[in-house]
């Protein structure tokens, strides 16, 4: 697989087995001092190398080196062995172009970003006598942020379909009086907003009384009750019982539908009634 590589950080050094390498030749290029850490997402401080997720840094040295990264886990340092090594890809600072470079040093290391953040590379020549022999390279790594999993879309409530507007509105609440209803159902059943709306919009029955009711499933009918409401109750009772301890029956003309009240808010009930009445 083609690896995207970066501009190499070339280090020069002599190759003497016994004597420590001349520190003046370790680096083939100026090595900037370690800068202050850059906050994630910020631009690297001057002198700090920026390493993107699709780039390589290459460390090339004529001396035997140990390359350490501090802290661990920000970059991956891979010893590639002795050159010549030919690498094709994008190099840090290369402007995003794919290039082919050949590295001939005795020690060649590739550095890749694992995650975003600052890191310091410590280039320790074999046989170093002290801290002065160690070269430090500051890098600001910008790894490919993991693609977050898609946020689950909250279930959009499905608005119940009202009966086709255009006819006379009649409404029944069929609710067991001794059942433990959810508090929102109790609010809806006792809602003055709903009552006021239905008083205004429902068809008028005998004596001019609005045709909406709250019935218990065991309601007994007297002689004076609206025949239409009695019939609507009889026709919808079985379905209402299937919907649970509290149900809403909305009839527009001869089109009547039954909805469970559990899970509906007072506002949703009002919305449904308004749509049924053609007010929305």
């Amino acid at each position: 697989m083609l690896k995207i590589a970066s501009i190499a950080l070339l280090l020069a050094g002599s190759c003497a087995l016994a004597a420590p390498p001349d520190p003046r030749t370790l680096a083939r290029a100026d090595v900037p001092p370690m800068p202050a850490p850059v906050p994630p997402g910020g631009e690297p401080a001057p002198g700090v190398l920026a390493l993107a997720a699709d780039e390589w840094h290459v460390i090339e040295s004529d001396a035997d080196l140990i390359v350490l990264a501090s802290p661990e886990g920000v970059v991956k340092v891979t010893p590639e062995g002795a050159g010549p090594i030919r690498l094709k890809g994008k190099f840090a600072g290369g402007g995003g172009k794919v290039e082919t470079r050949t590295f001939k040093g005795k020690s060649v290391f590739t550095v890749e970003a694992l995650k975003s953040g600052p890191v310091e590379l410590l280039l320790v020549p074999i046989g170093a006598k002290g801290a002065a022999d160690v070269k430090r390279v500051g890098i600001t790594a910008r790894a490919q942020d993991p693609i977050p999993p898609p946020k689950p879309k909250p279930d959009e409530p499905v608005k119940p379909d009202p009966p086709t507007p255009g006819g006379e509105l009649r409404v029944l609440f069929i609710a067991e009086s001794s059942a433990k209803h959810a508090p929102e159902v109790t609010h809806t059943l006792n809602s003055t907003k709903v009552a006021a709306y239905l008083n205004a919009r429902c068809a008028k029955g005998p004596g001019g009384h609005p045709e909406w009711r709250r019935y218990d499933p065991d309601t007994v009918f007297g002689a004076k009750e609206s025949p239409t409401m009695r019939a609507l109750f009889a026709d919808s009772l079985a379905e209402a019982k299937r919907q649970g301890p509290a149900a809403l029956v909305v009839a527009v003309g001869t089109d009547a539908r039954v909805y469970p009240l559990a899970g509906m808010t007072e506002a949703e009930v009002l919305d449904l009634l308004r749509r049924a009445a053609g007010d929305k």
């Binding site: 006792n190 809602s191 003055t192 004596g207 007297g222």
Partner: protein
Amino acid sequence: MFIISDSTPERDLVEPSGMSRGLDLSGRPEGFGAYAGVAEPLPRELVVPRHEWQARIEEKRQRRTRTRDLMTLAKLPAKNQRSIPYCWIFAPTHCMEIIRLKAGLPMVSLSPASAGAQIKNFRAVGGWGREGLEFIGTRGVVPSHLWPDTALDRRYLTDANKTVALDYRHTEWWELRDLDEYISALLHGFPVAAGYNWWSHETTTVDAAWIDGAIATDNRNQWQGYGDDNYFHLQGRRMLPDDMVCPRVAIAS
């Protein structure tokens, strides 16, 4: 807001001139506050825990889903027992008017005397709410335009009125046994006919309330001109009734 609490002086508890009381629990077979087994008790799963009372009361108030809000919307008039000692049947009758309102049924003024007079053989004597509501469940009440609210007159006891009364019965009711059941019934939206032995008086409780950090009740009296449109609050030891009955479902008529 008129509140009757433990410290309310006796002079503020006296009925206005021309009014009467009438609660008399002496004839109650089961005694004070005991469950008679005539009506269903409130199911235990409907008892609302006390730590929820305040929040639920406040939510009902804010959302205007209290029984009193519905009564106000409908402009349900208060009853007036005048000088007959029939508080014990006026309160259950007003409860019947309220549950009809909640059912979306036409508003009909109902005559307490039409039931009370038959129970007490047309005598102006005391009684208690449970006996009144028990009668209403079997024989019903007559609309006020057919039998005046305070008329203890046998002329109104016609076959026609007896037939009409059958349309104004309840079919389901509770006897409440303690404070938790009482407040729970109110929180579920049911009115309660509540009799207080300390007061020898029965009134209609329409809602639970929360006043100055404590539970209270919102009540409606049938003394004309009392409180705020006959509404008042009870709190403290005087709040808990000795007779509590709660009609839930009226015949649809």
